[in-house]
Subunit: 128 residues, 2 copies
């Protein structure tokens, strides 16, 4: 087995991956329709990007009748981990603390979220 490291998706690719994560496997048309509601895009643009992403291994393609069905190969949590690790190294000297601080300042986390984070810390062994 070759645990090939998938490349870090670009912003545009990430937008498409988001759609695939939500819809599951879908055709170019379906992906395009959804993507078009959040950002104006041409059909062939989405198609081209899916083709490139297929080459990169970010998505897989299955021929189904007359059309093709695309599916994300890079999982959502996998991508998140990738991006966070990247950002951690490049902008926070690898310090998760600094990143968390920044995250809490950037968006006001809801009370429920703060509690959830606290519980998460408990499980993580940070409990005194």
């Amino acid at each position: 087995m070759t645990p090939k490291p998938l490349p870090k998706p670009t912003d545009g690719e990430l937008a498409i991956l988001r759609v695939l994560w939500r819809l599951g496997p879908c055709t170019v048309r379906q992906a395009h329709e959804v993507l078009n509601t959040e950002r104006e895009t041409g059909y062939t643009t989405v198609l081209k990007m899916l083709q490139i992403m297929t080459e990169k291994g970010l998505v897989s393609r299955v021929e189904e009748g007359r059309g093709h069905v695309y599916q994300a190969q890079l999982g959502e949590s996998q991508a998140q981990k990738h991006l966070v690790t990247d950002l951690l190294d490049k902008a926070f000297q690898g310090s998760a603390l600094k990143l968390v601080m920044s995250a809490l300042q950037s968006k006001k986390a809801s009370k429920a979220e703060l509690e959830a984070i606290r519980r998460l810390l408990d499980e993580h062994g940070g409990k005194p």
Copy 2:
């Protein structure tokens, strides 16, 4: 006053900003020497990037004798906030919780860090 929104720095630009944040205002040569230890780069490459970054407003330039001295205009915490907000929107549906979870899973945070995060939460009002 014009609170001009500085652009999001690219990865290459971020590498240079890191150096400027560490060294403070410095010449191209100084920046190049430091940057060269972590990633092989040519002198003129660093110069060119600093010129472009000056156009963008990410750094400022002061002529000093025969050389120029560059200084970061985009602050470190400012950049961090920018990047985190961006990532939050693009990959975590704006959920700080998900990002924090991912951060804690990506790099093993030290015990000290976990405690610090907990204290941070206390101050943030997440305490029951």
